[in-house]
Amino acid sequence: AQSVSQHNHHVILSEAASLELGCNYSYGGTVNLFWYVQYPGQHLQLLLKYFSGDPLVKGIKGFEAEFIKSKFSFNLRKPSVQWSDTAEYFCAVNADNAGKSTFGDGTTLTVKP
């Protein structure tokens, strides 16, 4: 069975600091990878996803993630965070030929102004 591990449960940064959130998955086959974000009081929404091609994918609001197959990782990065990036971030993997997603337990990001 597939699983997803997010190592950082809570990250606190000051504005303009760089961000990297870790995501590792366990599955030996082809995967599709997602980062979803939940801003305070809002729904879960897609930040970015990888399913083929360039392993460096860019998403909304300046976020990017790199798929490293050899490391089973899909880390999320942003060079300079803003207060508005305060949210909970979830990594998810689809390893079957269907839309079933396995989610990590999330990382809460707090950005201090």
Binding site: V4, N32, F34, Y36, H43, L44, Q45, L46, K49, F51, S52, F90, A92, N94, A95, D96, N97, A98, G99, K100, S101, T102, F103, G104, D105, G106
Partner: protein
């Protein structure tokens, strides 16, 4: 474009009572998902529908949970009887065709507290 709608937003019940949640997916989306999100954890898939057929319900506790999607549009998730450990947010999501690379669109969730 209207998003995924869920009701109620909040529900408090006592253990052994029953409860039902409703979801209306984005128009035209064939695939509907129900997730359970316990505090401090990520969403866990309970059941996935493709139109009105079940694709995956392997993690649905079938002794107490049931779900249906009549006519392939709206869906209801029921818990009977509820246990304390069912306290969670129940999320509904939909996607266009249910392929593994598609984005899922989530509703606001129903927060259930079982006392």
């Amino acid at each position: 474009e209207a998003g995924v709608a869920q009701s109620p937003r909040y529900k408090i019940i006592e253990k052994r009572q029953s409860v039902a949640f409703w979801c209306n997916p984005i128009s035209g989306h064939a695939t509907l998902y129900w997730y359970q999100q316990i505090l401090g954890q990520g969403p866990k898939l309970l059941i996935q529908f493709q139109n009105n057929g079940v694709v995956d319900d392997s993690q649905l506790p079938k002794d107490r949970f049931s779900a249906e999607r009549l006519k392939g549009v709206d869906s209801t998730l029921k818990i009977q009887p509820a246990k304390l450990e069912d306290s969670a947010v129940y999320l509904c999501a939909s996607s266009l065709a249910g392929t593994s690379w598609e984005t899922q669109y989530f509703g606001p969730g129903t927060r259930l507290l079982v006392l």
